[in-house]
């Protein structure tokens, strides 16, 4: 178990190192790192001096090592566009993205599993067929179109909800939250739903397929032969077995939720990391692009590790096969 987790941890570190290499390449060869340090109006002499000071004339390997060192300390240099330390900017924008992604992820998971179980238990019912048809439409609509449609209906025509921003937020140290005010929640509803729709439809389809599969198994038949109540069989035995694959997909989907937040944040002008990244791409603000890449990768890798741990918690078979030394 511990060996397994250590191995996964090492793999994660390797992935992070690969991403760091990409970020470093971006930083060092695509953009001019000196710009990241001194801003646009430094003289050539100042630049050369800085180049020497920073060791940019050293070998690439040494520079990469130094880059990794700085990254671990959270130093990403200055934004070209905003001329402020990138780590400050990212830290400012992170709460907005995390709150949006978490709420969206929870909606996707809870509604997705509930509807998936519903359609799995009644595969022939008209309501199930209708839900599946809607889910195919949900998969087919690009995220930004759904956002625009929601804005058109609920903000422009009905004027029920605000169309952009986070609404009123409150400050706790460096963390700003919109979850404590009604205004904040009103602003959150549409972006969160937009972001949740795609992973939700995926989870519905997966849970439904797994549920149909599990209900055909011998242990479900035996559970029925033991006279257990339908509720215990469906929501105990069947659902628990269904959840094993759902955990992986949900975990991976949460990673993509954070990436897709880029689109949702742009549509709703949500002041998070995604919007920051889109602006950075448009303005060729390399330090912010590199930093975003690293932060998002770190989140992905962490989620993958958590999924691995959850796996072993849910499925006892994995626990013992892992315990045996490979």
């Amino acid at each position: 178990m511990i060996v397994f987790l250590l191995r996964r941890l090492l793999q994660s570190l390797a992935v992070m190192l690969a991403v760091a290499l990409i970020a470093f390449t971006l930083f060092r060869f695509v953009g001019d790192p000196i710009n990241g340090m001194v801003g646009q109006d430094a003289t050539q002499a100042e630049r050369d001096a800085l180049r020497q000071n920073l060791g940019l004339n050293d070998s690439v390997v040494v520079q990469f090592g130094r880059f990794v060192g700085r990254t671990v300390r959270g130093e990403f240099g200055l934004s070209y566009q905003l001329a402020r330390p990138v780590n400050q900017i990212i830290l400012e924008k992170m709460p907005a993205t995390l709150e949006l992604s978490l709420v969206a992820g929870l909606i996707a998971l809870l509604v997705g599993v509930a509807l998936g179980v519903f359609t799995g238990l009644r595969p022939r019912a008209a309501s199930s067929r209708f839900l599946l048809a809607v889910s195919l439409v949900g998969v087919s609509l690009p995220t930004f179109l759904i956002g625009i449609l929601l804005i058109l209906v609920f903000a422009v025509w009905l004027r029920w909800l605000p169309s952009y921003g986070r609404g009123t937020t409150e400050q706790f140290g460096w963390w700003t939250t919109g979850l404590l005010t009604i205004d904040g929640w009103r602003s959150l509803i549409m972006p969160a739903f937009t972001l949740a729709l795609y992973p939700m439809t995926l989870i519905i389809r997966l849970v439904r397929a797994e549920m149909l599969e599990v209900l055909r198994t011998d242990y479900i038949r035996f559970a029925r032969a033991r006279g257990l109540t339908t509720r215990a069989i469906h929501f105990g035995h069947a659902l628990k077995n269904t959840l094993v694959p759902v955990i992986t997909v949900a975990g991976l989907q949460f990673g993509s939720v954070i990436a897709f937040a880029i689109i949702t944040e742009t549509v709703f002008q949500w002041p998070g990391m995604g919007l920051l990244f889109v602006q950075a791409v448009q303005n060729v603000d390399i330090p912010i692009m590199a930093a975003y890449l690293l932060v998002v990768s770190l989140i992905f890798v962490t989620i993958n590790l958590i999924v691995d741990i959850l796996y072993t918690v849910v499925d006892p078979r994995l626990r013992s096969t892992i315990q045996r030394p490979a």
Binding site: Y219, F222, R226, G227, P316, R317
Partner: protein, 328 residues
């Protein structure tokens, strides 16, 4: 006189398919008395397992019981509501399936599965149910049950898992146990132990057992009576000793010829030519007639009904002496 534990009368089970209605069981009748073991034998597809599933009420759509009656200790159970049937399943009828490897939920501790079943059918408290579960595991021969109760199914061997499945089937002290090929998936060395266990439990608790298998050897070893099934009907039924030693139905004769005996020479192994018809193509008259060496005109037209012959009953026109006499 007390009614038999299980009494099946004219049972008919049909499956609706795209190609029309298929009749899997057609007019099956038999009784099982308290403490008696009835072996049900036949080739795969003969309707043995479907009969078991029909008794416990687990025929899933598109299949359904389309005729006949099933009585459990005198109470009719084939027309009960799903909820009433559920209360009977596991409490008054226990079921053991073929594959112990897949019969247990891999994500639940075996103790939890036992306690769950016990609490569904009895008023035992959590701790009492757990104590009872340990006793049950001990009774089915699991060593160190107080430790093993917290194990997961994958930590048990095939034979041990089947013991757990049996413990689950008997935990509410049912009147009837239906064992559907309980040893087929097991090693030969383990088979005998499981058979002995089922036999002992039936004797100790006075439970009636319906043992479904395609293995005549198992039947000969365990059963009091045997029913030989062929394409959804009972060809012959009677005490094991009589049916094995002097089978009446031509099909049963072929079947008994197919049991290798330790003493017997290989030449005595007979093979029945042809194979059992598919459900979609059951011939009219006696369904065995295309393979029967003694078939005559009547066998191709009229379906034989069971006829008493001493301790046995046989569905074959060859034994219809009354008809022969009137014809003569």
């Amino acid at each position: 006189m007390t009614p038999p534990v299980l009494s099946v009368r004219n049972l008919r089970v049909e499956f609706a398919s795209r190609r029309g209605v298929l009749r899997a069981i057609d007019g099956v009748s038999f009784d099982i008395a308290k403490g008696e073991v009835l072996g049900v034998v036949g080739e795969s597809g003969a309707g043995k397992s479907v009969t078991g599933l029909a008794v416990i009420g687990l025929i899933d759509p598109p299949g359904r019981i389309s005729g006949g009656e099933i009585y459990l200790s005198g109470m009719r159970i084939d027309n009960l509501s799903p909820e009433e049937l559920r209360r009977i399943r596991g409490k008054r009828i226990g079921m053991i399936f073929q594959d112990p490897l897949t019969s247990l939920n891999p994500l639940y501790r075996i103790g939890d599965q036992l306690v769950e079943t016990l609490k569904t059918h009895t008023n035992l408290s959590e701790s009492a149910a757990r104590r009872r579960a340990i006793d049950l595991l001990a009774e089915v021969g699991i060593p160190a049950p107080e430790k093993r109760i917290d194990g997961y199914p994958h930590e048990f061997s095939g034979g041990m898992r089947q013991r757990v499945v049996i413990a689950l089937a008997i935990c509410a002290e049912p009147e009837l146990i239906i064992a559907d090929e309980p040893t087929t998936a097991l090693d030969v060395s383990v088979q005998a132990q499981i058979i002995a266990l089922i036999k002992r439990l039936g004797r100790d608790h006075g439970t009636a057992v319906m043992l479904v298998t395609h293995d005549m050897g198992v039947i000969a070893e365990t059963s009091d009576r045997v029913a030989v099934m062929y394409s959804g009907r009972i060809a012959e039924i009677g005490p094991v000793r009589d049916v094995v030693q002097s089978p009446l139905h031509p099909y049963a004769r072929g079947l008994m010829g197919a049991i290798p005996t330790l003493a017997g020479d290989a030449a005595r192994l007979v093979q029945i030519p042809g194979s059992m018809p598919r459900l979609s193509a059951i011939p009219p008259g006696c369904s065995f007639n295309p393979r029967c060496p003694f078939a005559f005109e009547r066998c191709r037209i009229e379906r034989p009904e069971p006829i008493r012959q001493g301790t046995q009953a046989v569905a074959c026109h060859l034994y219809d002496t009354a008809a022969k006499e009137t014809a003569a």
